[in-house]
Symmetry: C2
Subunit: 107 residues, 2 copies
DNA sequence: ACAATAGTTAGATGTTTAGCTAAATATCAA
DNA sequence: TTGATATTTAGCTAAACATCTAACTATTGT
């Protein structure tokens, strides 16, 4: 949980995820979009891997990164839901689940 | 944007927000829920204030913090939506807005 | 085997962060 | 004014982070 938000707290990493939204890309392709060194990008990729937001697939010389949308969704929406935000409607009693009344502390 | 995710990347701060979900609370009340010093909590409050996730209201000796749900919602859901996550249905063509086809890079 | 290409590891530097204690500030009550 | 309460500021440490260059590993083409 913390790992996901930490990963998302960096603009470069957020843009990487956005780029991967369209299609999987190799580390090199992704790096070309940024004005930082390869090792720096490598570290960003590691952060995204550790947060499980991307999946790395090595093939030949290059490594292709794939977005793990479901992990992003679970983290983002799951957290949002603990605040009554998310899927359903807008004001008061219109919700699917009654926005509850129970104690739910986040990790 | 980065500020919000940065704020959310700390478990203590996430729990503070969760506590504030129920009702506004003073700095002292909030601090009582955590095993860290008051100055440390004060720093966490500052981070939340800077991210605009809470609103501080001084009255007398104490300062009452209020959750700014709308800011959390805008950040979380806004970001989620750039990935086609969020409000609407689950699989493919069921969405309200066609999940677009346009270039949207995050800040 | 050699060189080129794709990434990562190592090591250094400067910045940020979370935490602490001690001291300062502000408010209120006596 | 003196004291108690609530919170912040100052100053510190230790760990984590983002960044770099240089060197290394792995793969492929010649």
């Amino acid at each position: 949980m913390s790992g996901v938000f930490k990963a998302l707290s960096d603009p470069t990493r957020r843009r990487v995820l956005q780029l991967l939204r369209k299609r999987p890309m190799t580390a090199g392709e992704l790096s070309d979009h940024f004005a930082v060194s390869k090792p720096t990008m490598s570290a960003h990729f590691a952060a995204l891997r550790e947060a499980n937001l991307v999946h790395a697939e090595k093939s030949g010389k290059s490594i292709t990164y794939h977005l793990r949308l479901s992990v992003l969704e679970d983290a983002l929406m799951g957290f949002a839901q603990t605040f009554g935000l998310g899927a359903d409607a807008d004001d008061a009693q219109a919700e699917t689940k009654p926005t509850d009344t129970k104690e739910e502390i986040p990790s």
